[in-house]
Amino acid sequence: MTTLHLSERSAVEIRKDFPILARPTVRGKRLVYLDSAATSQKPNSVIDALDAYYREYNANIHRGVYEIAARATEAFENARARVARFIGCSPGELVWTRNATEAINLVAYSWGNANVGPGDAILLTEMEHHSNLVPWQLLANRTGATLRFIPIDERGELVLDGLDDLLDGCKLLAIAHVGNTLGTIAPLERIVPRARAAGALVLVDGAQAAPHLPVDVSALDCDFYAFSAHKMLGPTGIGALYAKRAILEAMPPFLSGGDMIRTVEYGRSTFNDPPWKFEAGTSNIAGAIGFGVAVDYLADVGLGWIREHEKRITGVALERLAALERTGLHVYGPKDPDRIGGVISFNLGDVHAHDVASILDTEGVCIRAGHHCTMPLMDKMGWHATARASFYLYNDEDDVEALVRALEKAARIFKL
């Protein structure tokens, strides 16, 4: 590396907070982690927070009167307030879930069963992850509703020409903020007002956006926003659903049992206020606390910086990968760092993506290969599988170089 930009110095500093990135692979290679779109690595502060909860104040929340129970409850609700602030909502509008998938299922069952009926339509896009497709297929099966799709063109961009027709008669638009396979950023500022005008509610799958872009749900003007902690430096098994307060008030419970009730008799029950109405059973207390610490870390670095850093690294990667075209390397999706969220899908000649990933693994380079849980998109594009590299705040130009060198090795092995 000849020039050292500010962001590279900072990425180097950031890497020191992530213990796993300092551990060599079994083959003694530096770990080059380019699969943050699947799950991110965790900084010390998050790992320490989980450890501290279990070592120092492990207790169930909300009803314990003793000191550590009070401390656990305070930490749990304090984390809710921080995650809520992180996306610009109030704590009373943030429901803990296991992950973005569960958040979407919560809406599909609770809101969907109560509000969607025969003849209604739900509008999705052709780039959705299975998590924002299958729950709506099941809802359509239950209710007799139909699904519609905003098309994606061969460049990986959403086609908005027929949007108003597609929205006509729609109860809900459910759309990924950032596509997980091609990294396409949905132009929500153009789409959401038109959904509003058509009378549809809007659910945004933010699993690939909340970790990488500044998100303000009130500015987005969406009704629901779903995201997962583990893709944004937090632990697995915890995620969140934002929903507008009035909608949460009107929604019937989803899962039921302890903690979500106000009174219970043998024959009937009344329910707690949101968000607790949707949090049956003991929550992932450590996970929620860790999630709070994770968003603190992200806010401290700054989402604006993270976005600019990823744009720069993605730009460098697109440039370096373009130089590999002579070996048959082909990049899919929008090739403009302004248009994508730090995700690059590609194939190398006639080498299957799994073989590419296996060879990269021997060089310590971790990427994903396959259908990325977007099988309909792959079918539409006519791709059997793609390799996908994704970037985050701890990646730098050295990681891009390692990716390129490993791809050159794969090309040599396959005689491309």
Partner: protein, 130 residues
């Protein structure tokens, strides 16, 4: 793992043997690896004695799944269905050579799974080849 991608593997990947379809197969089977979408179909022509007279495979997937399936089909003609049903994981690994990592074992065994289920006539009757 990079040891695995030897010339004969690449040759089977790019020039698969017995690839395509039989006009009138006696038995067929197809399966996919849902994790990665690799897919293989096996078609057998079996005579009245239960001897395999001809074989074709088709499918899409990584070099490991396609080359191991291709190599399998080279050793099937003249075998009885019972013998095909008794083919082992070890026999496949002997064919393809060293270096299959645990994460790719399912790819290497996909062809065997499908071939055996064609011979046996029931995919569910066979335990996972992990």
């Amino acid at each position: 793992m990079d040891d695995f991608y030897r010339d004969y593997i690449l040759d089977h990947y790019r020039n698969p043997r017995n690839f395509g379809h039989l006009e009138a197969p006696t038995v067929t089977a197809e399966d996919l690896n849902p994790l990665c979408g690799d897919r293989i179909r096996m078609e057998l022509l079996v005579d009245a004695d239960g001897t395999v007279k001809d074989v074709r495979f088709s499918g899409k997937g990584c070099a490991i799944s396609q080359a191991s399936a291709s190599m399998l089909t080279e050793n099937v003609r003249g075998k009885s269905l019972e013998a095909v049903a008794k083919l082992t994981k070890e026999a496949v690994l002997e064919n393809v050579g060293i270096g299959i990592s645990p994460t790719r074992m399912k790819c290497a065994m996909l062809g065997l799974r499908v071939l055996k289920s064609a011979a046996i006539g029931s995919l569910a009757a066979w335990p996972d080849e992990e």
